[in-house]
């Protein structure tokens, strides 16, 4: 491990100031991913700014009916919080489908958003990887790509974002609250992560020195009709091959509102509000609708060999999640 400086942030503006005035600074909260990456010599921060003592541990109600989740709320506290499990059950389920209890106890909301990909090439400094070292190449495209992306890939990179939590947050239309040297801003979760394009080394839209302070959930939590379905290679402690967070509002058998996101398929949670509007809203909650929607959402999906099976698995997972959400609470 490289030597690095460690500083404890006293306040947000000081932390942002520190990070924006130097190169190679990382913020650390739970550290469940960052410390691993440092040990593997994948990342070499010059300094770690510890955010853990900042007051970002609360889950609070919002005046417009939504909920604000502080960036330092742990995954466990978030998943088991009574408001979240009652009003946003899809989010609780997604979080509990990920990692292990030990990791969830330590991992934070903000940190989860900033997880790096689990691509095996990214994790191994002995081999090329455009995300780790731009310009070195991407052996994954013709190599071990079982867990990698089928949508939104680029010539440079076919990595996936590994989070379960973010998939549910994307379906819930969450908003990421950010502060930084040039002030505060709000970023819809759907726009927070970027596609790899020509710069796979950049995962998110955060600028230098910007800090996630909270994630806001809107009032609509799909508590009545939602599902999180995760398909993986073992029954715990495995990243999603395909996951789907699906939330529906149904009136008299017709869909009035929908939020559906896919995980394990792209560099970001995959959602299309436009397709939801066009192919779900106003349509009957039945298999024909699911079929039309999944066909459109997965249009252009492309396999790279080992991960070709995802082209078959994604549609059935989408249908299963939508079917489960539509029939939640019914005894089948």
């Amino acid at each position: 491990m490289n030597n690095f400086q460690y500083v404890r942030a006293a306040d947000l503006s000081g932390a942002a100031q520190f990070a924006s005035s130097r190169d190679g600074v990382s913020f650390i909260a739970g550290g469940t991913n960052l410390v691993d990456l440092m040990k593997y010599s994948v990342v070499h921060p010059t300094a770690l700014v510890d955010l853990n003592r900042l007051s970002l541990h609360e889950i609070t109600d919002r005046p417009e009916g939504g909920v604000r989740i502080g960036a330092l709320v742990t995954n466990s506290n978030l998943a088991y919080h009574p408001v979240i499990s009652a009003r946003y059950p899809m989010l609780s389920r997604a979080i509990l489908a990920g990692a292990s209890p030990q990791l969830r106890n330590k991992a934070t909301t903000g940190g989860n958003l900033l997880q790096r990909t689990r691509c095996v090439y990214f994790y191994d400094p002995a081999v090329p990887c455009n995300k780790r070292e731009p310009g070195t190449g991407c052996p994954a495209k013709e190599g071990a790509n079982r867990i990698l992306a089928i949508l939104g890939t680029s010539v440079q990179c076919i990595a996936t974002h590994p989070s379960d939590m973010c998939v549910a947050m994307a379906a819930l239309s969450a908003i990421v609250q950010v502060t930084g040297p040039s002030g505060d801003r709000s970023v819809p979760l759907a726009d927070f992560h970027r596609l790899p394009g020509e710069h796979p080394e950049i995962d998110t839209v955060l600028s230098k020195g910007e800090i996630i302070t909270a994630v806001d959930l809107p009032a609509t939590g799909f508590a009545g009709n939602s599902a999180y379905v995760k398909v993986r290679d073992r029954q715990s402690y495995a990243f999603a091959l395909i996951s789907v967070a699906a939330g529906l509002e149904i009136v008299d058998g017709f869909i009035t509102h929908a939020g559906v996101a896919l995980g394990g398929v792209a560099h970001k949670p995959w959602r299309s509000a436009e397709l939801e509007q066009r192919l779900l809203v106003g349509k009957p909650a039945n298999r024909n609708t699911w079929h039309d929607f999944q066909t459109a959402l997965l249009d252009g999906a492309q396999g790279f060999g080992e991960n070709d099976f995802k082209l078959k698995l994604a549609p059935v997972t989408l249908v299963r999640a939508l079917e489960q959400a539509a029939h939640e609470g019914e005894t089948i």
């Binding site: 491990m1 490289n2 010599s41 689990r118 095996v120 090439y121 994790y123 191994d124 400094p125 002995a126 081999v127 052996p139 013709e142 190599g143 071990a144 079982r146 867990i147 398909v231 993986r232 290679d233 073992r234 029954q235 715990s236 402690y237 495995a238 990243f239 091959l241 099976f309 078959k312 698995l313 059935v316 997972t317 249908v319 299963r320 089948i332």
Partner: protein, 744 residues
Amino acid sequence: MNTHLIGTDVNRIDGPAKVSGAAKYAGEFFAPDMLYAYVVSASVTHGEIKSINIDKAMKVPGAVKVFTHKNRPHLPWFDRTYLDEDAPIDGSPLRPLYDARVHHNGQPIALAVAETFEAARYMATLVSIEYKALTHQTDMAIAIHEAEKVKKTNRAGIEAPPKLRGNSAEAYAAAAIKLDKEYHSPTEFHNPMELFTTTVVYNSDETLTIYDKTQSVSNSQLYVTNIFGYSKDEVRVESPFVGGAFGSALRPQHQLFLATLAAKVLKRSVRLTLTRDQMFTLCHRPETLQEIRLGADTDGTLQAIHTETFQVTSRYENYFEVIANWSGLSYRCDNVTMEESTVAMDTVTPGDMRAPGAAQGVWAIETAMDELAVATGRDPIELRLQNYADKDQNHDKKYSSKELKECYRQGAELFDWTRRKSKPRSNRRGSTLIGHGMAGGVWESPQMPAAAKASLSPDGTLTVASGTSDIGTGTYTAMAILAGETLGLPLDRIIVKLGDTELPVAPLEGGSWTISSVGTAVTEACKAVSKKVLKLAAGLDNSPLKGASLKEVEFSEERILLRSDRSRFVSLQAALAAGDGKPIVEKAKSGPSLLKQHGYKSFTHSAVFAEVEVDEDFGTVSVCRIVSAIAGGRIINHEAARSQIIGGIVWGIGMALQEEAVTDHQLGRIMNHNFAEYHTPVNADVHDIEVIFVPEVDDIVNPIGAKGLGEIGLVGVAAAIGNAIYNATGVRVRKLPITLDKLI
């Protein structure tokens, strides 16, 4: 022998030490001024080191030395010097840091040594290496056509396939039912929890005390003394506790070599621990391809078995394990051909991994038998009974015992086999398909020469010792049980010592032969002590045992009783009080009795039953239930035996569904080299497991009638699960692991 301990549930005598942290493993011994070392691993698969620069690494505060092939001390040039007790006879063992050649990805090519672990690890990242890369091959599918295939020869203790019997080609051609299939199993890694570690303590008299993770202290000692020119008096190897090994610690791994080299040159104590990633650069279960042809009558009676097996080895050593032989062993068939070849590739040499060869070989033949049951419409158990062999078919020898029929019967009853629907896809609940399958398992029960010492103190405390290893299997406890049984002592009066080259020599801890070999030696040593105790007891004034022979007395509850009249006895205390005040010490050497075992072969057997649920859309498999009925001779410690079998079953779940080292063939490198990506079962994957030990009396296998259980628990499990998956889905997967993509 009386039976107050044997066959009961005995908690491990080393359990309190393990849970309290008092049990010290190889990486937990300290020495003053100890140095820490860290391995630099090659990142190319085949080639030469053009240049290696250590300047930056040496500038790290605390840096002591970076060893490379350029600056290493003199090492023996003769490659046979590097052999160990378990090395393949053909080939040349890897000589770390010997020259610039890279034989496999991950090969150790430099060793960073520093005052702290962190400094050594950082140094390793700063060693810059230029390679001249040469072409490599790691893809068995290609290598099998291109590489030189070598027919199997003998490896110490491993036999070549038996000569063909009958004419399998003709019988196959004439058979009414024909099956011709290929079975493929992947590379798997042992991955014991404890990382490979060696702590070399450099003593003031320049001798070495080496704490090594090993399944044989004497093998480690042999290796070190041969290579580094020490005498046996100068190198003591200790390994009191081993955190799992599964065969990976049979041969010395490179951390032993490198730590010893560093200690010798630097004249300092050195510790070297490999990382989890580096555990994937060691020996492993070789990838195999098995072509099996079965010919049978319409009722399933076997007429022909033809097995052709290919297994991967390295280019520098011709390692092989017995794979083909298992197909011809267990079923009655007059026309059998078994062929076995190795395929050399640019990989590290494979090694024995829990049930080496049988894990893959029995998986293939037991899957093929299930396919034959389908083809003939027979029930899988009935088919196996129809072809049941009362003799070892390969050697035409009697079994010393084989209660496999009872395993089938008791296993089927507990499992409720009658619930099974023979037609695939006929048992479902919503989108969940339910399936039931079974398979048989078999493993050898050999006895090896072993030595042990027993020492009974005047206060009635017994110490038994043998230079064997306890890799978590319960050897400490089994030795105590056998000693306690022989001398009528409670366990708290017994001290067990093992894992030390100062102790009597035991064989490698492998092959499921430890209970058979070391258990017998311990029993013999204790018997010799008991003879002396009896002599003392009989010599007492008015002794009721006067003139009694060993056979006429019984040692129980710290007394020596007359069998004919148990009210007449001498207490152990009284007998020992008549001694000279010194401990009674006896050594015993035991080995297989040629007289008794001539004409016999010994095996453990199992019948494994599996229930699975398969999600029809996702292809995800849940193994809801496993019942394993074991015929394993006399059970010494029921609790430890059951644990062993459960552990083997969990391995079987991993083998069936998850385990696979994924190689990028362009790079020649295993890419999923960590526990996040190389999957083994987690708790959520393991559901109901039930173990039955069927009664099996065997007085030929060895004097104590026990058979080792380290491997049998695994054998057959993957086949039973695969057969259950077929029953659920109608999909036959002949390429392990059965991941969901193969079922959708």
